[in-house]
């Protein structure tokens, strides 16, 4: 699984120009499920994200988790993260898991994140063409693989 985390002051997903999901302060997570992933991988990644302390405390140090600051999560499936760009000029998607299994594991990730943090987890529309708008503050961007 490959995910990209952006720390935002706001984020939203639009489909055909209409907002389908929206958060204020929190994390926008783009997630790509890979062919080798299992429920164990997904669980480990959810725990990893839950434990990340990437928000500023009163002293300006990044000591606080999303849960600590009362933040929200916006998770968007993003199979292009699994692309192999090391060769050729068009991305290869051999490592990306195909639906419906990829959707099952993505949903599992969102459920685990919500359960572990007690914070809202909003999502885009799996597989749809979407516009993701966000304000990345810092910027602060983290790339995780598992």
């Amino acid at each position: 699984m490959r995910i990209l985390i952006q720390r935002v002051s706001s984020g939203r997903v639009l489909v055909d120009g209409a907002a389908v999901a929206e958060i204020g302060r929190g994390l926008v997570i783009l997630a790509g499920v890979e062919t080798a992933d299992t429920s164990a991988t997904i669980g480990a990644m959810a725990r990893k994200v839950t434990g990340l302390r990437i928000f500023d405390d009163a002293a300006g140090k990044t000591n606080l988790s999303c849960e600590d600051v009362g933040g929200e999560f916006l998770c968007v499936s993003q199979f292009t993260l699994c692309a192999d760009l090391s060769k050729g000029k068009r991305p290869g998607f051999e490592n990306a898991m195909k639906p419906p299994r990829s959707k099952e594991l993505f949903d599992e990730f969102c459920t685990l994140l919500a359960a572990a943090t007690g914070r809202p987890v909003k999502t885009g529309v799996f597989g749809a063409t979407m516009t993701v708008e966000l304000k990345n503050e810092g910027p602060a961007t983290y790339w995780l693989e598992m």
């Binding site: 434990g51 990340l52 292009t80 692309a83 000029k89 068009r90 708008e133 966000l134 961007t141 790339w143």
Partner: protein, 140 residues
């Protein structure tokens, strides 16, 4: 160098409530320089980005490069991309040559298409409209 590429219809960088950098259609790049990186590696990576077919043609197939669509680059340093996240508390990797390598990378991109570059160490708010969405990870 670790790169995050986001295909955008617009992106802008604000600092102290003022817009400092702005592009329309193009690629927003967040770049994290790592200790083993060299200017030569950064330059070849920039060329590679210029050749990637990430934009859609009239049939909705991603066959077009940033040169084909006459897009622009917006590049920001993002040392956190090289962060060690094993403890849950990110620690940035120190790299004395990070600025030089970042500048070299931006220069090489600028020879492909117009390129606007952010500054290391300045707090910024980055507003992105990612279309697709289409986000790619790439490293040297």
């Amino acid at each position: 160098v670790k790169l995050v590429l986001q295909r955008v219809s617009s992106a802008k960088v604000r600092h102290q409530d003022q817009t400092r950098l702005e592009i329309k259609r193009g690629i927003l790049i967040l770049a994290g320089v790592e200790p083993t990186d060299t200017c030569a590696a950064a330059e070849s990576l920039a060329k590679r980005v210029g050749d990637l077919r990430l934009f859609e043609d009239a049939n909705g197939e991603t066959t077009l490069t940033i040169k084909d669509v006459k897009g622009e680059f917006l590049v920001l340093p993002q040392p956190m991309l090289s962060a060690d996240l094993s403890t849950g508390h990110p620690r940035e990797v120190e790299s004395g040559d990070a600025q030089e390598i970042f500048d070299w990378f931006c220069g090489a991109l600028g020879r492909v298409r117009p390129c606007k570059c952010g500054v290391l160490g300045l707090p910024m708010s980055l507003q992105i409209t990612n279309e697709g969405p289409a986000t790619y990870l790439l490293e040297t």
